[in-house]
């Protein structure tokens, strides 16, 4: 097979047909699309396909190599799991948006040049915001608008950087870019917004918890991992990324501890996991890059699983606030079990997927002698267990009994969670299958006695800390609240600035108008005073006085000549 037809279009064009199909056929079609696309991807040989000449540039619509194949595979898998999870939803718009979004992300992964990348990049933004708006409330409308503005802004940075890169190098090819010059910096900012770099991150915590229960599962898979893919392709070995990633891994966990909305807790922990990947890309050795993309692969599954379990809770109970939940294991035992598998995976327990992927990044950091970064990442590893591994299942399913009794999640949701949980354990037990897909040959053994013991000690003592703090009452209770983050800058300070500025502008304009009006009246007054019928300049004069004045002038003239 030639592979000139982009895999992305299988999903995007296929999604367009969804509204036309009736009931059962529609469901079968949605399930078939990712499978067909994957079968087609398998048939395409590695290399450059679908090359188009445009404006003297060669655009490559399909670049299949180990890196893009790995991300294409996991994106198709995530699309399939998300479709299964959302199968019960009776909202055509969400189905179409979800599959177009998945298709766009896949198109971006296979894009061989920056222009094709840009087009798919923007399509992910436009299609994904529909999953936020699909909740159809005043709140989600505002959140979606903020989200899409940030996403499109990321595309603008990418476009500006790509054009400068083209001028500088004469090529639009999307290979290693690096941080030399303005072009590289602009593109890095564009990628950084999608990967949720510190201070560019807040769209993630803002928007993901506001989407529909099924929409968040779609969202969690694609946008941020597309950012990670783009960083791995364009900025591998950029040292600044080590520090950015270290900061990313550490600061969100503080927020996660005090956050009440459990899906927002997951968004913070996603930011923390992205930090590990960014560190791996920054280190740039073969082991580190393998670790970064392997962790992205595992993260899509376990983070998707965690968002699925919380989505099921939201669907059945109508709330996702830690302060209102508790004791749900009695009503939703299967969801509880699957959630715990996801929690164990993100916490990197031995035999679960996070263990075999995150440890590669940790080892790579240690091999480069990055003591400080390694210690921070170890802190973040303990912290992620604390807030995502324990807090999520504990406050939703255990803690004090909230009295809520509900149905177990729908069967299609349980099926999606079951497959994801099986994959988490499968990758953890048989890491070789995932390792074989990685871009570089793997010479890494995750299951050494030292490593298993060290990691288990770390996690058990973190659990002990949680239990001790809980029983002594030191642990901060879940409270109805919001916590300030960098979105405060535009939601409060920016808004306040606009309001104040507008007020100042209105007042200045009013003051100016008053001043002008007063001047106008004064001038009008002056004019009318002198030019009114009896005014000095408009008065009629008697002819006698005129003759008198002429005589005065003549006499003055005479006197002047006489005296001279």
């Amino acid at each position: 097979m030639t592979g000139n037809f982009p895999v992305a279009l299988v999903l995007i064009l296929g999604a367009v047909l969804i509204p036309l199909l009736p009931g059962l056929l529609r469901k079968a079609w949605m399930l078939a699309l990712p499978v067909i696309a994957f079968g087609y991807l398998l048939a395409i040989p590695h290399g450059l396909h679908g090359q188009v000449e445009l404006l003297g540039q060669t655009l490559t619509l399909m670049r299949v190599d180990k890196l893009s194949f790995l991300f294409g595979t996991i994106f198709l898998l995530a699309a399939l799991l998300s479709v299964i999870y959302a199968l019960h939803v009776d909202d055509t718009m969400q189905h179409v948006a979800g599959l177009v979004y998945a298709g766009a992300a896949i198109g971006a992964v296979f894009a061989g040049d920056l222009m094709t990348l840009f087009i798919y990049w923007e399509l992910t933004a436009v299609s994904s915001v529909l999953l936020v708006w699909a909740r159809r409330g005043e709140h989600s409308a505002a959140t979606g608008m903020r989200y899409v503005i940030v996403q499109l802004l990321s595309g603008m940075f990418l476009l500006a950087g790509a054009l400068m890169h083209w001028r500088a190098t004469g090529s639009l090819e999307f290979g290693h870019i690096g941080l030399s010059g303005t072009a590289g910096l602009l593109i890095l900012i564009g990628f950084g917004i999608k990967s949720a770099f510190p201070f560019l991150h807040n769209w993630l915590m803002d928007a993901y918890p506001e989407a529909t229960p099924t929409g968040t599962v779609f969202l969690s898979a694609f946008t941020t991992k597309l950012g990670i893919y783009a960083l791995a392709r364009g900025f591998a070995g950029t040292e600044e990324l080590v520090w950015i990633g270290t900061l990313m891994a550490a600061f969100p966990i503080f927020y996660a501890v005090i956050e009440n909305d459990l899906r927002r807790v997951l968004a913070y922990s996603m930011n923390n996991q992205l930090g590990f990947m960014v560190v791996g890309i920054g280190i740039g050795t073969e082991l580190a890059l393998n670790g970064a993309v392997a962790h992205a692969f595992a993260d899509i599954i376990f983070k998707g699983l965690l968002f699925m379990s919380m989505g099921a809770v939201l669907l059945r109970t109508g709330t996702i606030k830690g302060s209102e939940l508790g004791g749900l294991y009695k009503s939703m035992p299967w969801t509880t079990g699957f959630c715990i598998v996801g929690a164990a995976s993100i916490s990197a327990f031995p035999l679960f997927s996070g263990f075999v992927t995150k440890s590669m990044i940790m080892s790579a950091a240690a091999m480069e002698g990055m003591t400080f970064n390694w210690l921070v990442l170890l802190f973040a590893s303990a912290g992620v267990f604390h807030h995502a591994g324990i807090k999520i299942p504990y406050f939703a399913f255990f803690a004090h009994d909230s009295g809520i009794r509900c149905q177990e999640a729908p069967r299609n949701m349980l099926a999606a969670m079951g497959i994801a949980a099986a994959l988490c354990i499968g990758i953890g037990v048989f890491p070789g299958a995932l390792y074989a897909l990685l871009p570089y040959t793997v010479n890494y053994e995750p299951y050494t006695a030292s490593h298993v013991v060290a990691q288990t000690q770390l996690l058990f003592y973190s659990a002990l800390a949680f239990a001790v703090l809980m029983r002594t009452g030191i642990y901060p209770p879940e409270l109805k609240s919001v916590n300030l983050d960098s979105d405060w800058l535009y939601r409060k300070a920016g808004w306040g600035f606009v309001v104040t500025f507008r007020l100042a502008l209105t007042e200045t304009r009013a003051g100016l108008a008053e001043l002008i009006e007063a001047r106008r009246l004064a001038i009008a007054d002056f004019v009318t005073r002198h030019r009114r019928p009896e005014g000095l300049l408009m008065r009629s004069w008697p002819t006698g006085s005129m003759a008198l004045w002429v005589m005065v002038l003549l006499l003055a003239n005479l006197a002047f000549f006489y005296l001279r």
């Binding site: 503080f254 303990a382 009295g403 060290a454 003592y461 659990a463 901060p476 300030l484 409060k492």
Partner: protein, 90 residues
């Protein structure tokens, strides 16, 4: 707390059983640290081979994390409708 709709008693509903679990966790932690006596862990850093390094690091990291986050609440926490309040002033 609202009374549950079903009267079925679960194992975890009994506080004694929760205490049992808590003690079990202490025992598990004790056994895990005991492994350090027999196993010479191969570590990338010399300091990480110290007896009980990972256990102590995990415990104190989490305590520090929670205490710091608790303090952060004083600065960062706002009422739930904080951002919605002035939306209606527009």
């Amino acid at each position: 707390m609202t009374p549950p709709a079903d009267s079925k008693k679960y194992w975890l509903d009994d506080p004694h059983n929760v205490t049992k679990l808590f003690r079990g966790l202490w025992i598990a932690c004790g056994l895990l640290i005991g492994i350090d006596l027999f196993l010479h862990r191969h570590e990338d850093f010399e300091f990480a081979t110290v007896f009980g390094f990972h256990g102590a690091y995990g415990f104190f990291a989490c305590v520090a994390l929670v205490l710091a986050a608790k303090q952060l609440r004083k600065v960062l926490m706002r009422p739930e409708d904080y951002y919605d309040r002035d939306r209606h002033d527009r």
